[in-house]
């Protein structure tokens, strides 16, 4: 049944592509206010040698990489806006075509330096957390997985709560500061990577989420095109499920992330780099076990628009993680890291439709407190290295 739905979604996506080219983004009036509609979608094919990747049977080639989104929004007054976006996707065993409310928010911008946003809000964390689904914004088919793992998107992509934000010009021409302070509730899909990972360890989650709060400050420096910033995330989570038929609870003792980032854009060149450190101490199995994990992740990435419709890029992504419970303590071993070298090309067929090709050369398969793209369910035995090819097409209007 889900395969039928998948085929229908893919067909629908193609139809939406054709429609988007014909209609472009649509505006209509509602109670004398203009409502804009926009949408996007993508379809990927992934092949790998070594390990199966991202819960797909990629060693045989897989097309189970599809997503679509549709939003509507309106400026109710000059300072007050409202909107919502629905999102649906399938990534191997994840997503499984369960539509989600991606975001739905009310936004009041009292002043350029003070605004308030509430509802289900995309989280401002690092360069790309809030835009990680928006494939059409980038040259690469996949963001560096060390910092933006596609299989773990539920972890921090959005929170149900509120933001206070603003943009402050600095004196003496030293640039501008953007700030966001936020707090809310995280509620993971039971079709996400962590719930799927726990199934292998005998735990069936019914719910996973909790309080998240944090902040982000970024400085648009006086050097034209240079942005630097820092983000912080703290969370207090609880997972409720069953294990061997009995109730099972997992709770946070301490869990925080610090993320430092920089971006430089000059004409057709874009350079990005981030470093993330996460410390995670969780009480497992109804308080009978504890897992302390340390994650260090960073990447350097570059892309260049060669001509108007062709761009190329690449990145090096570096991920190491330890877990005391899973006895992953030596990150030099394959189960303690993933080092990924990627190279990408993108062609814009027109302003709505793009095609990408990307190669990955990965060392390691990191199996610490949570997965990093490689799951025991698809890999009864792990190979130390994986090569991956991603072909992807996407549209937006």
């Amino acid at each position: 049944m889900r395969q039928v739905i998948g085929r229908l979604m893919a067909g629908g996506m193609l139809a939406a592509l054709a429609l988007s080219m014909a209609l472009q983004a649509q505006d209509f009036k509602l109670f004398d206010r203009t409502v804009q509609t926009h949408g996007f979608g993508s379809q990927g094919f992934v092949y790998s040698s070594g390990n199966n990747w991202l819960t797909m049977d990629t060693r045989d080639g897989s097309v189970h990489m599809t997503d679509v989104g549709l939003n509507m929004s309106s400026a109710i007054t000059d300072k007050f806006r409202a909107g919502a976006q629905v999102y649906d996707h399938n990534l191997g065993q994840l997503g499984q075509w369960h539509p989600q409310l991606d975001w739905a928010s009310l936004d009041f911008r009292a002043k350029p330096w003070l605004g308030f946003r509430g509802g289900k809000v995309k989280t401002t964390l690092g360069l790309f957390t809030d835009t990680q689904d928006l494939d059409f914004l980038r040259t690469s088919a996949l963001l560096p997985q060390s910092v933006y793992p596609i299989d773990m998107r539920d972890a921090n992509i959005a929170h149900s709560g509120g933001d206070v934000y603003g943009r402050v010009p600095l004196a003496h021409g030293v640039g501008k500061l953007d700030y966001t302070v936020w707090s809310g509730h995280r509620n993971d899909s039971m079709h996400g990577g962590y719930a799927y990972f726990l199934q292998y360890h005998g735990t069936l989650e019914n719910s996973y989420g909790g309080l998240q709060y944090g902040g982000d400050v970024r400085w648009e420096t006086p050097v034209k095109g240079l942005l630097v910033g820092v983000s912080r995330l703290d969370e207090d989570l609880i997972g409720i499920g069953t294990r061997a038929g009995l109730p099972n609870v997992e709770k946070t003792k301490k869990d925080f992330s610090n993320q430092f980032f920089g971006q430089y854009i000059h004409r057709s060149l874009e350079l990005n780099s981030e470093f993330k450190r996460q410390y995670r101490d969780h009480i497992l199995r109804n308080g009978t076990a504890e897992d302390q994990g340390n994650l260090h992740a960073w990447y350097v990435a570059g892309s260049y628009r060669i001509v108007k419709r062709v761009s190329a890029g690449g990145y090096y992504s570096h991920y190491t993680a330890t877990s005391t419970f899973n006895k992953i303590l030596d990150t030099s071993l394959p189960n303690g890291h993933v080092y990924d070298k990627a190279i990408s090309g993108r062609v814009d067929i027109n302003r709505f439709w793009n095609v990408k090709v990307e190669g990955h050369f990965m060392d390691g398969y990191a199996l610490a407190s949570f997965p990093e793209g490689f799951y025991p369910q698809q890999n009864p035995t792990f190979a130390p290295t994986t090569k991956g090819l991603v072909l992807k097409t996407g549209f937006n209007f």
């Binding site: 939003n71 628009r305 814009d348």
Partner: protein, 140 residues
């Protein structure tokens, strides 16, 4: 003596150029409801990058051209972005619920007609385009 004359003429040209308003192949136009008559280049950039929604106390909304020489000149002179980067910038805001996509029109004539009839609209056209019905902002 001849070299002194040349020196003074050249100096005069430099001084003259520095005193001119921001020179470009485009002119920035606004609906008559916009009270400001002159703005800074920084203010124009802030309006079109959605950092600022008022000029001289009047609410403003940016209006874009879809392409063409005026569009390219405006992006280069005022925003420092190419069209692909500008579209990506707007889309990153639209698809995260933080902004609406600015109105985008196909020709100078369409931009002028839209700005003339739309309260708060601010756009740009080629420097030789007719601007009947709208005000031209002096950009310093």
């Amino acid at each position: 003596m001849k070299s002194n004359k040349l020196f003074f003429v050249a100096s005069g040209l430099v001084v003259f150029a520095s005193l001119q308003a921001f020179a470009s192949d485009v002119k920035v136009i606004a609906n008559s409801s916009v009270t400001a008559s002159s703005v800074s280049a920084g203010d124009v950039k802030d309006v079109f990058l959605l950092d600022k929604d008022s000029l001289g106390g009047s609410h403003v909304d940016p209006v874009l051209s879809k392409g063409g020489p005026a569009h390219e000149a405006f992006l280069k002179d005022y925003l420092g972005k190419n069209d692909a980067a500008l579209q990506a910038f707007y889309r990153s805001l639209v698809f995260t619920g933080k902004a609406s996509m600015p109105k985008s029109l196909g020709s100078d004539g369409e931009v002028v007609a839209y700005v003339a009839k739309t309260k708060g609209a601010v756009g740009y056209v080629s420097s030789g385009a007719s601007t009947e019905g709208v005000k031209t902002l002096v950009v310093k």
